[in-house]
């Protein structure tokens, strides 16, 4: 049976990190999964909800649900967007009193998966055939770790990558300090938290930091670059696409 997924790339990745979405596409296709990209997709609404404008996220929820409700399974390449759907969508849909939207949302939410979780738990694969001969640390982002409870999936997938040396990061479970608009509303605090994360990364002497959220990685890489550490960041999908056919 051929699996078919609709990719939700998120507004953020669509605009700033197209390579992550392309890598996810390559990995999924290499596993025989048919990938679609519904073009009406936009944004999950997380930034509105988390900043305090939840009611403004309702039209975004509606757009998401209308866009994806025909899809068999939805794969998101962001832990925090996936958590947004799981934790807030039903409550936001309920606000509309639109019975149709509510029931469509209720049916849709359990079909939305985070990328690594989809690979290990739905497809049932841990070795996708990738090669990435570098020293790597995994930073479990807060939403992926504490909302989605995804930790082992990523570790399994990274552990199977040829040549990859997985190095423990001290205080790995601690937040990087990003927090969406927190990063600018409480900018000095955000960068103080980040400074410790960066110090732990530097101490781990790795070449690449891998995570399931480009938003956190953008924040981390902003400081890694500013401090000329030479450490790069990469979404898990991009690591997994290394050495596969079709990677661009």
């Amino acid at each position: 049976m051929t699996r078919s997924v609709s990719l939700f790339v998120s507004c953020f990745n669509d605009m700033l990190f197209p390579n992550t979405a392309r890598a996810a596409n390559v990995v999924l296709r290499s596993l025989g999964v048919k990938v679609e990209f519904p073009r009406r997709q936009t944004c999950c609404g997380q930034i509105h909800v988390n900043t305090g404008y939840a009611s403004m996220a309702v039209p975004l929820v509606r757009n998401f649900v209308n866009t994806f409700s025909g899809a068999e399974e939805i794969v998101a390449i962001s832990g925090s967007c996936t958590a947004m759907v799981r934790e807030h969508y039903l409550e936001l849909a309920n606000r509309t009193n639109d019975v149709n939207l509510i029931s469509k949302t209720r049916e849709l939410v359990p079909r939305v998966f985070e990328f690594s979780e989809y690979l290990t738990d739905v497809v049932g694969v841990s070795d996708v055939g990738a090669t990435y001969p570098h020293r790597v640390s995994y930073h479990p982002t807060c939403h992926s770790l504490r909302s989605l409870h995804i930790y082992e999936s990523a570790i399994k997938l990274l552990g199977a990558v040829r040549g990859l040396q997985l190095i423990d990061l001290s205080f790995a479970e601690q937040c990087c300090g990003f927090g969406g608009t927190f990063s600018v509303k409480n900018s000095p605090m955000s960068t103080a938290i980040l400074a410790d994360k960066v110090a732990n990364i530097v101490n781990a002497k790795v070449e690449t930091v891998v995570a399931l959220d480009n938003s956190c990685l953008l924040h981390i890489s902003g400081a890694l670059k500013r401090n000329n550490t030479g450490v790069s960041v990469m979404h898990l999908a991009e690591v997994l696409a290394h050495g596969l056919d079709g990677v661009v």
Binding site: P140, L145, S147, I150, D168, F171, A172, Q174
Partner: protein, 225 residues
């Protein structure tokens, strides 16, 4: 006392209860799935689960007591007087208070010690001048190393175990329960209850633990089989 506090004199009572009742007309949000808010086992920062202690209850009790630096002696019932005498002598205890319901044979042979047998009738002030106290124990909890005093005649009133600097507590093994959950099937609360789990301590200065602030600074537990 307190005749001036009849309920009818307290308009705030009615006001608070009305506010609470009207607040409760809004139903609380469903707490959601029980998976949320649970630590992901095996992830960094989450404690590695330690298998439950497989020690016998009494041994577990002793281990936990020692862990918080109580002195522990294990004896047969007949060995209690000798153990008590040994502690009194090695701790240089010169004066002693005991509750009137405590088995007299336990302390009669302690030698040259000023002894006060307290029946709870006099004032509590004065016990601070006494070195030590001996009590029995209604119930002890192994998992937490807790001594439970519930005001029985062999435990006395609370002040006697508070002001002297040495507390010698005799725990019979049949009084030891495994965990906290069994506590209130063993003891009632018609008397005041004190749970003691270690010598008094503070960590208020730079989180450095200092044993002994206001309560007894030395806790000696005699476990008797």
């Amino acid at each position: 006392m307190a005749n001036n506090h009849l309920r009818s004199d307290q308009p705030s009572r009615t006001k608070i209860l009305n506010l609470v009742r009207s607040g409760l007309l809004n139903k609380a949000m469903d707490p959601g799935s029980s998976m949320a808010g649970v630590a992901t086992r095996g992830a960094p920062g989450t404690p590695l689960w330690i298998a439950g202690h497989d020690l016998e209850t009494v041994d577990l009790f002793e281990e936990v007591l020692k862990d918080y630096k109580a002195r522990v002696l294990r004896v047969d019932i007949e060995g209690i007087p000798a153990a008590v005498a040994e502690v009194i002598s090695s701790c240089h205890i010169k004066s002693l208070v005991v509750p009137s319901g405590l088995d007299r044979t336990w302390y009669e042979g302690v030698g040259q010690v000023q002894l006060v047998v307290d029946d709870g009738s006099g004032p509590a002030v004065g016990f601070e001048k006494i070195d030590g106290v001996i009590t029995g124990c209604s119930c002890a909890i192994a998992e937490t190393g807790t001594l439970v005093l519930s005001g029985r005649p062999d435990e006395g009133r609370r002040a006697i175990t508070l002001l002297p600097d040495f507390h010698i507590c005799i725990v019979k093994t049949e009084a030891i329960i495994r965990g906290v959950s069994e506590l209130f099937s063993r003891i009632g609360v018609s008397n005041p209850v004190t749970l003691i789990s270690g010598p008094s301590a503070t960590s208020d200065i730079e989180l450095k633990r200092v044993e002994g602030v206001h309560g007894p600074r030395n806790l000696i537990v005699v476990i008797a089989t």
